[in-house]
Symmetry: C2
Subunit: 327 residues, 2 copies
């Protein structure tokens, strides 16, 4: 069976790390068909559109998409792409790696972020010169989809006992109340343990002791900010992968940006994109291959070669080859 | 001139730390008239109201209010109290103290949080069984008031060069766009330097290197979450004060909660409330006295006696007396 993979490198180091991850996937004995497409600042400049219709359509029909990064146009690219794959959950692991400097080396978290609504509704108005509004939307349907995914997610792996619901229902009583109650009731039905933490309290507590948390289920913006906070605790965005999962397809992307300061020099760290490719493998059912890629990246992070962001002087290609050699 | 101070101890350790801060204020040669009032879980149980009308009225007429903490009813108490003093800005310093364990001991930040709108509008609806909404409101007026305050704030003290505007205008284009543009244009008019940071990027960057930030101006929920994140970096909520400032009056409160586990034992750390009282002194124009209280608290934190949360075995009274002795 052939798996159609859309490859959207985007801007900056996206052009370097995305092909690196594709090389790793090509080194495996799996029948992939890769199709590349444009998105981001460069294509906006050329064509007037940050996300050309054919790129959207490709992501909407491929089995999985690998995306690199976009510059100024990031929101105009990534939000529609999440929509193209009908993604209802954004999986964001934030894990410190041995040998990599981290504020909190014991951090090992997975955020399951609602990926369609909240303040990302796009419903904004300028009512008067003085007043602007945004309609924050929370539905039972989206909360239920997320909850069911979260219950499966923690049930499939022995290492997870349950999950924490992070919200701000003491202020957003109706909307985050609906989010919290729906998720809690699905988890109760499925016999999955949950606890609840207010979003602000979570921010304090995760700095003081990240080991008290494991899997975190939260609304869209909370997931955005709190997973980036966790990225700070593990030493930066450089190593963090993510998966935007929908019912029939999914999109994988490193959490980092385009790193314009080093773009074009062939020295970008491909680790986050290669780990995102490992998540893609798991998504398609290749658990052993996914595990092998994870292990090869971890060994490379620990033993080298390393790129400059981790204190080494290896190129993107050196690191990619080292990962492939370890498969 | 007599200053009327409303004192609202609230629940749990609020009952212990608030009188401690009042003792410190009484030790100064200033003409205060203190009036105590109830709020919180206990008064809800007794009277059916977490915030009795006379407490609201007292805060709305006093020159300044000192508030302790409230339990489950926190939102029902503190949000109306902020409204009672017509507070448009919440000042939240987050500073690590010498000798106190901190994840990031170099942290020294001040958050100026918009205190009236955003997702705190209270405008929520359950449209259908499936759909709930919240109207996030951002006005030019509130943004301008905050900006003018922020410009004065950084101009009054030599140590501040300007401020960072933290927002999420790449997603909340109209609302956070209005917030950002209004604040930037006021700062430009006043010749105050600003830079801009996305809320998620701020969360990462402040963990990696808090010294790159100083004064942060942000919307209501961003201020709530990011100041609590900073609290995590300095070692917890235990030492953080805050001031809710309005045009004619203000309300001062420690950022911590009611600490039910130690309430009633006389061992709560009064530092955050005493530092909040120091902010009250500054607000009323007693700069020298404010400075003296700050210094006395810092010396006590460094040299002891210390309460159990900081590894000591002193009582609330021991610490309060030590602060008063150092004035
Ligand atoms: C670029 C932006 C729209 C996006 C988001 O807010 O989701 C980014 O911060 C992310 O987390 O992938
Ligand atoms: C209790 C709650 C309503 C409040 C807030 O969200 O503002 C608290 O978290 C705070 O920051 O003072």
């Amino acid at each position: 069976m052939t798996h159609e993979i859309a490859v959207i490198p985007g801007d900056g180091i996206g052009q370097e790390v995305t092909p690196a991850a594709v090389e790793v996937l090509e080194a495996l004995d799996i029948d992939f068909e890769f199709t590349e497409a444009d998105a981001g600042d460069a294509v906006l400049e050329k064509t007037g559109e940050a996300l050309p219709q054919e790129t959207y359509d490709l992501a909407a029909s491929a089995d999985a998409t690998l995306f690199g990064a976009a510059g100024e146009t990031a929101a105009d690219v990534i939000l529609p792409l999440r929509d193209a794959v009908d993604s209802f959950v954004n999986i964001r692991p934030a894990k410190a790696y041995p040998g990599i400097d981290a504020v909190r080396p014991e951090t090992d978290l997975v955020f399951l972020r609602e990926n369609t609504e909240g303040v990302y509704s796009g419903l904004e108005d300028r009512l008067t010169q003085d007043v602007s509004t945004l309609t924050r939307v929370v539905t039972e349907t989206a909360s239920r989809d997320l909850a069911e995914f979260a219950c499966d997610y923690v049930s499939e792996a022995d290492e997870h006992d349950g999950f924490s619901i992070v919200h701000k229902a003491n202020v957003m009583r109706e909307t985050d109340g609906l989010f919290r109650d729906t998720i809690k009731s699905v988890a109760d039905e499925e016999g999955v343990e949950t606890d609840e933490v207010l979003m602000d309290a979570f921010a304090t507590r995760v700095c003081l002791d990240p080991e008290q948390f494991d899997v975190i289920v939260c609304p869209n913006l909370a997931g955005d900010v709190l997973s980036d906070l966790a990225a700070g605790l593990v030493g930066g965005l450089g190593l963090l992968p993510s998966a935007n999962v929908g019912p029939d397809r999914a999109l994988f992307e490193p959490v980092h940006g385009t790193a314009p300061d080093i773009a074009g020099e062939g020295v970008a760290n491909p680790a986050a994109t290669i780990i995102s490719a490992a998540m893609l493998l798991e998504y398609l059912g290749y658990d052993a291959e996914s595990e092998a890629v994870h292990e090869a990246v971890e060994a490379t992070l620990e033993e080298g070669p390393r790129t400059a962001d981790l204190g080494g002087d290896a190129s993107t290609e050196d690191v990619t080859n080292a990962v492939i050699d370890r498969l």
